[in-house]
Subunit: 226 residues, 2 copies
């Protein structure tokens, strides 16, 4: 479902500063896989995730999504992938600040024409333990609660590709385990999962572990016992 070839991302800041965030990544992910991505802070994980989620474009290289080259897609085609196929949990949540939790979660459903958007959004928030926070706005929520709203929003349309960038970074052990079991059951249904994490314990829930360092893949191995 995902194939990247020599993916490169370079930022130019001012006249002299060049940051090579990705330096030529090549890998592929089959449908139904559960891949964890680890690596030091600043190694390029979020940059890669944004490209995979069609939220950014590489400087060089190719990204094939379901066999189609993304750099040859129209804006409409890319938007359809982003809104229908892909569920993205952002490392910094990206919630709409002036709307409530349930309105934030129902947005992708409304956008996709679901009639029971409010009901599905409420159930999604219930599953992440936020039934009593439906009408709170993000600044009336703890950071971990905001993270769970972001998770609920990413998963509510039942996307076939889930890109989760540190979804448990701000959660206590019990909430982390609950979120991981939701993700696990989605994978059991055949959905493809790519999960960035800093925690070794979390990575062990995946079936394959890709390690980044300075914008390059340094290892790509199955997870033992999985």
């Amino acid at each position: 479902v995902i194939e990247v070839q020599n993916l490169t991302k370079t930022y130019q800041l001012g006249r002299d500063t060049v940051v090579k965030a990705l330096r030529g990544l090549s890998f592929s992910i089959q449908e139904g896989e559960f891949v964890a991505i680890m690596g030091p802070s600043g190694s390029g994980k979020s940059t890669l995730m944004h490209i995979l989620g069609c939220l950014d474009v590489p400087s060089k290289g190719v990204y094939l999504l379901d066999g189609k080259e993304t750099n040859r897609m129209t804006d409409n085609q890319l938007a359809r992938f982003r809104n229908h196929k892909i569920g993205f949990v952002f490392q910094s949540f990206n919630l709409l600040p002036r709307t409530s939790a349930v309105e934030n979660v129902e947005l992708p459903l409304v956008y996709n024409g679901y009639r029971n958007a409010r009901k599905l959004a409420t159930e999604a928030l219930d599953r992440v333990g936020l039934m009593d926070r439906l009408h709170h706005r993000p600044n009336e929520l703890s950071i971990g609660q905001q993270q769970r709203v972001a998770i609920a929003r990413a998963l509510v349309t039942g996307p076939s590709l889930i890109l989760a960038d540190e979804p448990t970074g701000n959660l206590d052990t019990r909430s982390s385990e609950e979120v991981l079991s939701i993700i696990q059951s989605l994978n059991d249904e055949g959905r493809t999962i790519v999960l960035v994490t800093h925690e070794h314990d979390i990575s062990q829930h995946a079936k394959r572990l890709v390690r980044l360092r300075d914008g390059l893949i340094v290892s790509d191995e199955p997870v033992s016992d999985r």
Copy 2:
């Protein structure tokens, strides 16, 4: 240095919704202690930290800082505590978006009249591994890099009370250990540390562990072997 008595914080949202974020906390912290605070997402940790940092006021109860009641201090006195005595690492960083990393870190120094602000800020960023990111603005930094800028800014004036709200939540293991060893050496110098974390391993660096649940303290114990 810190004493709270029956600290309560209640939020009123709209007409019907009341959130009791803190339900009557009482404890004290002596100078030079190293206290970890743990608890489920939404249990009141950040709310407590904001009150301890003089960034918020309780609904009821008393907060004595260096023996003085904070609710009887003038705005100037509170500001002096915030800017001179306390270093606060925010869970959501709170960096100025349009200024570079080094300018963000030098701000407390400039505010306090240091002449070598730029030099001290540069050294602080070097200590957290961001020497090559001095002139990047927050949106040109990874989330973990932003977190390290927030840490450098909190510590740069050498405050006697350090309040760190999940300072390693978005850091890889190696960066976390580096940050914790900086915090440990500050405690070795006699500074008081209060550190919120979700990770048991991180909490074991402290000498005392306070657990919150639903806005109450449920345990307050020394950390074994420390």
